[in-house]
Amino acid sequence: MELLNKSLRELGNLIRKKELKPSELLETLLKRIEETEEKLNAYITVTEEEARKRVEVADRELEKLSEDEIPELFGIPISIKDNINVEGVRMTCASKILKDFISPYDATVVKRLRERGAIFIGKNNLDEFAMGSSTETSYFGPTRNPWDLERVPGGSSGGSAAAVSARSALASLGSDTGGSIRQPASFCGVVGLKPTYGRVSRYGLTAFASSLDQIGPITKNVEDAALLMNIISGQDSKDATSAKVPVPDFLSSINGEVKGLKAGLPKEYFVEGIEPEVKEKVFEAVKRLESLGIEFEEISLPHTAYAVETYYIIAPAEASSNLGRFDGVRYTYRAKDYKDLIDMYKKTRAEGFGDEVKRRIMIGTYTLSAGYYDAYYLKAQKVRTLIYRDFEESFKKVDFIVTPVSPTTAFKIGERTDDPIKMYLSDIFTIAVNLAGLPALSMPCGFDSSGLPIGIQFIGKAFDEETILKVGNALEKELKLNTLPPL
């Protein structure tokens, strides 16, 4: 466990100094997966054999290489959310419709990790097609929260967050469309970063809502997130929405000075509906940050109240479009009995998709359809402009914004599955960030009286992940929380 508690940088150093063999690290991790998986169900696929083969090669190569020839993730196993393509490995998107799909190519982020020596340990569970806030809509069953197995780990990257939390993953890549990295990170007591839209390539990420999706790291500490960001960030010629912005050295900037930074507390985020203990812990963290020299002021994001509604028009619309390709023709599950082509489509998709996915596809189809486009989709995109401007205005006064991640701590499995809208409202603090395309960090800032983790969110200016990582790192060192669940 000591080994699995180490940061990626520490592990990298040990390997580089030849004090740790990749195979030792892998075996330790595999053992931990074995110990925890039955309880957690954090993985859909564990690529044990493939990982062992690669680590064997890594061990041998290690003997020949000198210290500075060894890349920073050499022989280190990373897990990947199961909606990101890893070549040759099954990618299900937690759906029946892709239950046997083998990825024919690597996502760009996977390719970049590979180039730095990483090996892949498996694919983490998620809400089906990343649509959800609890990982309960997975075709492969829910993942459980390592802090309380009766509770959800959050979603949609629940598998990644739970594994990192339980140390059955050293670090993971998740995806975030409305909070899917940040919310599970806060429910599981780990760190999750959603980069600025365009900072990280989406090539290879199964699209959910194209104008909102981003891939980001889920790690045990802020430093690991920064290290992974160094590797996965940067323009990709295969993704026309990835930005031409240069990539700073995130890892070195996290130790920078935070004194003098200005932080904003949006008044609309601290109203009714937040669990008192969540509010309390967030304010305590704010006090700690003040003691480090950060100045806080109240700001206003007036259109906050409309963010969830805006999102639930835009995201399903784009999703309904992106999921049309799952049609039983080229690479998916196909229904067995059908009379003709249209029947094949309808039965394949009816049998292959779960209810939440169907709901979102249908809402999306409706809001894009003739006669409704202006009233719904177009309208929502206009409100999005207003939300974007809210942040623009605020960032004239402050360097970053502080909010809770979720109004509550992890809720019980099954508690919200009958009420889609109640489920949607758990994203209330994370959603506006995706609409505005901004970066945001979620990290633990305390526990409630049941011992459940509470997360705090730092929202940064576009392409200013450095500031929020810096602040996160400073807070982490201040709080020195024990984030190991009693699993």
């Binding site: 909606n83 393509n85 199964t206 010629s237 026309a240 003739a370 989709y377």
Partner: protein
């Protein structure tokens, strides 16, 4: 009651880029099925489109050649429908903001009059794959996605076309221009150019538009005319018998020469267009636009006018010469190399060279005969070395066959014609001696009979000299000799 037709055409033209519009798979016709495909054009999860720069350049080139205004800012959109050869279940196209608008093309009708057909808009989009339907008892269809992702421009005309003939001429003109500027290969059988027609009828002189039908995928010039002829008549019949034309999509059955219903308005698709989130808007700035404009060659109509005014070529001949860019270039080079009348160059190219090349199954661009060779050939005729007949019938074909220059061929084959007057006189006298009847006819006959006699004797002299006598000289000499007694 007399009716008139109102026709609008939507033409899809493939662009001759090396790769597809949104991925780097090869853009080529005829490859084995599903070999030019990748995660992007297969619509696999996680794939993303990236726009081909050359596709934009070719599209803009086409729009400029069609006199359009180029929109500096245009947006891609998704058009949704389900079909097995549409991998993403949406086509990336342009909807509200196309890259080009308000152009025109001029057609020349068979009666010589010209008509301008306005172009409403041109937009870029990706082609779908091909679905082959099983025959007979085969209940399956077969999908090949090689073509999915081929760059297309869709050219939408205003409903300015009034007859099926005009429609055919319009489509031919579009094709000629697109091939001329090098963005399309004009190959309709391979689907490089495809056409959908919208047609309605109305009482002659009326300003209101009648209900229109759409005829899809008519893929030859002949069929476009036929399909429209049939459909217009069908609509007239419907209206005359008291019925109403139903707004619907119809398919042309080329075997039977009829159109039939494909789907009605109720079954019409709801495409649920919205702007493509995976692609930034396309910005064509002044600099880029100018550089593309500069790369445009002189267009066929301008070249044709120039041939008429600068080279004295007839309008008819000029039309033929500008059918192909390579042909126009060939003519111009030959005309410049030849010191005499360009008209003669045009004539020998059109009446003779093209025929010989055609028989040898050669294109003008593969011609073994060079423009300078044509000039040389005509010069040999001018200076009397060979007759025009020998030039066309013997030397030119040999030039095509062997690629040798006319001078060499004339020498090798000993075709130099006899222009020496005294030598010719000898032969004429000989022929006269052996053909007393003709001589008598000349001496005693009227004008007409005289001409006949001369002609006959020319023929005999040619026979005698194995075609080498200079016919021009003969024409002068024979009467002279006959007169001299």
């Amino acid at each position: 009651m007399e009716f008139e037709a109102v026709i609008g055409l939507e033409v899809h033209a493939q662009l001759l880029t090396k790769t597809k519009i949104f991925c780097s798979c090869k853009n080529e016709f005829g490859a084995p099925p599903n070999t030019n495909v990748c995660p992007v054009c297969l619509g696999m999860p996680g794939s993303l489109p990236v726009l081909n720069k050359r596709a934009v350049e070719y599209a803009v080139k086409a729009a400029l050649a069609l006199n359009c205004k180029i929109n500096r800012y245009s947006v891609f959109a998704r058009k949704h429908y389900f079909y097995p050869d549409l991998p993403k279940a949406y086509q990336i196209t342009q909807y509200e903001l196309p890259f080009a608008e308000n152009g025109w093309v001029e057609i020349e009708k068979s009666d010589g009059t010209k008509k301008r057909i306005r172009i409403k808009r041109i937009h870029m989009e990706e082609d779908a794959g091909k679905t082959i339907h099983g025959e007979g008892f085969d209940e399956n269809s077969y999908v090949d996605l090689n073509r999915a992702g081929t760059p297309l421009i869709e050219i939408v005309s205003e409903p300015d076309i009034s007859t099926p003939e005009e429609a055919r001429l319009y489509m031919q003109k579009l094709r000629d221009i697109l091939v001329w500027i090098g963005v399309n290969d004009g190959n309709l059988e391979e689907g490089s150019l495809r056409c959908d027609a919208n047609v309605s009828i109305r009482p002659k002189g009326s300003k209101e538009l009648g209900t229109r039908t759409e005829i899809k995928n008519v893929n030859s010039f002949r069929f476009i005319q036929k399909a429209l002829e049939y459909e217009i008549e069908r609509q007239i019949k419907v209206v005359k018998s008291g019925g109403k034309v139903v707004q619907e999509t119809r398919l042309f059955d080329s075997q039977k020469g009829i159109t039939k219903t494909m789907r009605t308005k109720e079954e019409a698709e709801d495409y649920r267009y919205f702007p493509e989130p995976d692609l930034p808007p396309l910005i064509i700035d002044d600099e880029w636009l100018e550089s593309i404009r500069e790369s445009l060659p002189e267009l066929p109509d301008q070249v044709k006018e120039r041939f008429i005014s600068d080279y004295g070529v007839t309008s008819y001949d000029a039309s033929i010469l500008v059918r192909e860019k390579e042909l126009a270039e060939f003519f111009e080079r030959a005309a410049k190399a030849y010191k005499g009348e360009a008209k003669r160059v045009a004539n020998i190219i059109i009446s003779d060279l093209l025929g010989v090349l055609n028989e040898a199954k050669l294109d003008i661009s593969d011609s073994p005969v060079t423009p300078e060779g044509i000039a040389g050939l005509l010069t040999l005729v001018d200076n009397g070395t060979i007759s025009i007949r020998v030039a066309k019938e013997e030397v030119l074909p040999e030039m095509v066959r062997s690629g040798k220059s006319p001078e060499v061929i004339v020498k090798e084959k000993g075709l130099v014609q006899i222009s020496d007057e005294s030598a010719l006189r000898e032969v004429i006298k000989k022929v006269m001696a052996g053909n007393e009847k003709a001589v008598k006819q000349y001496r005693e006959g009227n004008e007409k009979q005289k001409q006949k006699a001369v002609k006959f004797l020319i023929g005999q002299v040619m026979k005698e000299t194995k075609g080498k006598a200079n016919p021009r000289l003969l024409n002068e000499l024979i009467p002279k000799v006959l007169e001299e007694g």
